[in-house]
Symmetry: C2
Subunit: 165 residues, 2 copies
């Protein structure tokens, strides 16, 4: 399946929250998100990677910038005391930029080109998450325009293929 | 937007590879995936979380089980020498299970319920990645059937809503 890049999506209306060093045991993920769900806060990305030594890992999710302060409060006042260990870190100076297309998942080439284009602009990739139709990266908010412009020209997209989420 | 869960997708035809402790600087992500793309190996999930102390992070991706050994070889023989630091870890005893539906991204409730259902079966979540229409978790391969059955009954799905990828 040849990848067909149809556009770039981007948004600066995100903030990320990370539970660092959470125990990697069943139940922890739902104990983190349960109180957030109870507060009716919309969650966009959820990213967890493997626990390097098999015992602790970091759990990150993003919310709308407007929900950042309240989410931070819930994590510090409800989730952390319930878990009994770990640390909360947040950052509301982020942007999410995604390359959208079909056949994405089958091509490491598209991903590695996207990452290379960003590195040529000295843009550091903070997080990565993919789906069948999208490769999304989280970067510093101030680099969003530069990232969108660089990807736009590298993948030969028209002006109207770019949409803000 | 009320979430509408339309089904469960699952596959045991995955293996995960992690570059532990890679430098969190521009260019690293493309130096990891470039040689994999050059070998025409299909990549499915790509997951990277924040660098806890801002300097090193882990980078994970999945390939088809059949490509596991070759991918491990490329990482050890080409990528690691190029990066000059870090460690390669792989695991081909995994399965990916996804809850599929529309309106997913807006509901922490769906995610936290999915995670809770898995924890009630004592299934440990190794990785998490989401998109607008899917919440995907990586778990141990031997727990795949149990996970699919537990999610199937918890979300009230018919037999024909379950599809193997
Ligand atoms: C860290 C968290 O995902 C844990 N492994 C769980 O299953 O809930
Ligand atoms: C770790 C890796 O993603 C790095 N931050 C990069 O931009 O390439």
């Amino acid at each position: 399946e040849e990848p067909l890049i149809s556009g770039i999506a981007f948004t600066a209306n995100e903030a990320k929250l990370t539970l660092l060093n959470t125990p990697d045991v069943p139940g922890v993920a739902s104990r983190i998100l349960g109180p957030i769900a109870d507060a009716n806060i919309e969650v966009d990305m959820i990213v967890q990677n493997v626990a390097p030594a098999g015992d602790y890992t970091d759990f990150t999710f993003t919310v709308a910038k407007g929900d950042y302060k309240q989410t931070l409060k819930i994590l510090n006042e409800q989730v952390l005391p319930d878990l009994g260990e770990g640390e909360v870190k947040g950052d509301d100076n982020i942007a999410k930029v995604s390359l959208v297309g079909v056949g994405m998942r089958s091509h490491a080439g598209v991903a590695s080109k996207m990452f290379r284009v960003l590195s040529e602009e000295n843009i550091n990739i903070r997080m990565v998450s993919t789906s069948e139709i999208k490769i999304s990266v989280v970067i510093d908010e101030k680099q969003m325009e530069l990232a969108v412009r660089a990807l736009h020209s590298a993948f030969g997209l028209d002006k109207d293929d770019i949409e803000s989420e």
